[in-house]
């Protein structure tokens, strides 16, 4: 167990290319599942993939940048409705619908530009206000409400079979996670980490903070938009209640926190574990779904803010008794974005000292 965890730690500290490759291989392996699983499990897995991908996206703005977006399901809903309008009203192909979904979501995120110059909580509440506003607007406006003026939702036929949809969602999940991996290791990732820790400091070393917050938000909005657009035909019927439900945002937040906020691995682990819990509880506790989720959010933040991932690294250190890298200090210093030491390896001449 200790060796396995050490291998995981090495992967985390290693180059992003290796991480991306690992994710891609995982994705390929996942594609084999429909060969021996029945439709029920295939559909279930699609839901899990969607949840993980959404959580990973949320994590970029909520965990890494430290700006929790409470209305994030607005991007998912916008994507779904964009797809409905593009595919049903304008009869365009699904691929275009997905691109449109991403574009609409990113464009909407840019509306928040003035909010980024203000304090963090203005952002949080604005996203909630946005969700409420958009949900009402979409629900009441004839153009978006449904195809016929009396409709309360959209029926969006899917051009793909179940198995094909499954593969599509595996692809979307991998794309989301891999793009997050590279984002966190990029110049933008550095900027976000700095401004999460201390905005004044980040600004003083030359980082245009408002701009990078906007970039992070747009980046976190695109994938939910694309995934929402793919989700509409998958579900075949969408309405505002289902697509803009605050539970979707709840899911994103809970999965990220439960798994380990600010990390790449967190949303993945969190999504898997929570889905398992969900499956077990499904039959018995359907009504209490939201209540349990809310309770979990509160308990985790109160007692173990670092989530599963921080627990795992603690375990790894104990098993291997390493004292090299310090244990993550405190909950959301975004400690685990996986950039310990390694970038220093790419120096030229200058340092020259071996570890």
């Amino acid at each position: 167990m200790g060796r396995f965890l050490k291998a995981c730690r090495d992967l985390r500290d290693g180059s992003p290319h290796r991480q991306a490759l690992a994710m891609a291989l995982f994705g390929v392996a996942l594609c084999a599942v429909p060969l021996f699983a029945n439709d029920y499990w295939v559909r279930l897995l699609v839901f899990i993939f969607v949840n993980i991908a959404l959580a990973s996206s949320w994590n970029v703005i909520g965990g890494v940048t430290g700006y929790p977006s409470f209305g994030h399901s607005v991007f998912f809903g916008l994507g779904a409705y964009t797809a409905a309008i593009v595919m049903v009203r304008y009869e365009l192909p699904m691929a275009m619908a997905m691109v449109a979904g991403g574009v609409v979501a990113a464009a909407f995120s840019l509306l928040f530009l003035p909010v980024f110059r203000q304090k963090g909580f203005y952002f949080a509440l604005s996203t909630l206000a946005a969700l409420l506003a958009v949900e009402t607007l979409v629900h009441k406006w004839e153009f978006t409400r449904g195809f016929k003026s009396w409709d309360m939702g959209w029926t969006v036929p899917s051009p793909l079979s179940l198995d094909a949809s499954y593969v599509l969602f595996v692809g979307l999940l991998c794309s989301t996670v891999i793009s997050v991996i590279y984002l966190l290791r990029s110049k933008t990732g550095f900027a976000l980490h700095a401004l999460h820790k201390d905005e004044v400091l980040a600004s003083s070393i030359g980082i245009p903070t408002a701009r990078y917050k906007a970039i992070a938000f747009a980046a976190s909005a695109v994938w939910p938009g694309v995934i929402g657009a793919a989700f509409a035909p998958f579900m075949t019927y969408i309405s505002t209640e289902s697509m803009f439900d605050v539970t979707i945002t709840l899911n994103m937040i809970l999965i990220s926190i439960f798994g380990g906020i600010g990390t790449v691995l967190g949303p993945i682990l969190g999504g898997i574990v929570l889905s398992v819990i969900d499956q077990i509880a499904w039959g018995n506790f359907l009504e209490y779904h939201r209540l349990i989720y809310g309770l979990l959010i509160v308990l985790i933040i109160t007692y173990k803010p670092g989530g599963i991932v921080s627990w795992l690294w603690d375990l790894e250190q104990r098993l291997n008794r390493t004292a090299e890298t310090p244990t993550p200090r405190g909950p959301v210093t975004a400690n685990e974005s996986g950039r310990h030491a390694t970038i220093a390896l790419r120096t030229e001449g200058g340092t020259g000292h071996a570890r």
């Binding site: 004044v200 600004s203 070393i205 030359g206 890298t325 030491a341 970038i343 120096t347």
Partner: protein, 248 residues
């Protein structure tokens, strides 16, 4: 000796609800110079610092860097123009190594002053100048106070500044460590970077600076070469009380 005016502060004031933290302060920093900024507690040094670095907007007055206005800019724009600063209390990014901490600044150094160096080269150079090359891989949490202070300086250096403002960079250091920092600052100055040296330790100021500005109660009390300022009775009085002033 130094003729070219790099930074010009003119009539700078900051008013907090009727209380002037800084009142009508004017001074110049010349290119290549090390300017000391001293004063007793509450004199307004921190506020002045924050005014110049753009963290706090002034109530009145102007700041010009190379003739261009600096006083209404955001901190990142101030940094981009060439005025870098250090921070007094722990401001290193946890969860990152020393190298990465400095590298963030290199990544965002302004294009006009990038020259031919890549970001990595810039980071390495800054670390070397501050004698931190051996500690590059260490996590930021594990550093000694002396190393932390030097990382602050390295980070400011990595932005390729025209001037660096140091905020009590000697605080908490023993004499040997302080010497080390003074040596580094002299070396940095030798490369053509001007320094505004805000410090409590008057002796260090006298040794390092070409000129000194003394603040008291938000206003400029005295200005001039260090040995003159130190003997100025008004300055002595404000530090040690009138009994000492009358003896000199």
């Amino acid at each position: 000796m130094h003729d070219d005016v790099l930074l010009k502060v003119d009539g700078l004031s900051k008013n907090y609800g009727g209380v002037f933290a800084v009142r009508g302060v004017s001074f110049e920093l010349r290119r290549g110079e090390v300017l000391g900024l001293i004063g007793p507690n509450g004199a307004g040094k921190s506020t002045l610092f924050n005014l110049v670095s753009g963290i706090v907007p002034p109530s009145d007055g102007t700041i010009h860097l190379e003739g261009k206005p600096l006083h209404r800019l955001r901190p990142n724009e101030v940094c981009a123009r060439g005025a870098a600063r250090t921070f007094q209390s722990a401001s290193l990014l946890s969860g990152m190594t020393v190298w990465e901490n400095v590298h963030v600044a290199s990544l965002f150094r302004p294009r006009e002053r990038q020259g031919d160096m890549s970001a990595e080269e810039c980071t390495n150079r800054a670390l070397a100048l501050c004698d931190l090359t051996h500690a590059a891989r260490q996590p930021a949490e594990r550093l000694t106070v002396s190393e932390q202070k030097r990382v602050e300086i390295a980070r400011a250096l990595a932005t390729n500044p025209l001037l660096i403002m140091t905020d009590e960079v000697l605080a908490g250091l023993n004499p040997a460590e302080g010497e080390e920092v003074l040596r580094i600052l002299r070396q940095i100055n030798g490369e053509g970077i001007s320094i505004i040296f805000v410090e409590h330790d008057v002796r260090a100021v006298v040794r390092l600076c070409h000129r000194v500005v003394v603040l008291a109660q938000g206003a400029k009390l005295s200005e001039g070469p260090p040995d003159e300022v130190v003997r100025d009775p008004a300055v002595i009085e404000v530090y040690l009380g009138s009994r000492y002033a009358s003896r000199h």
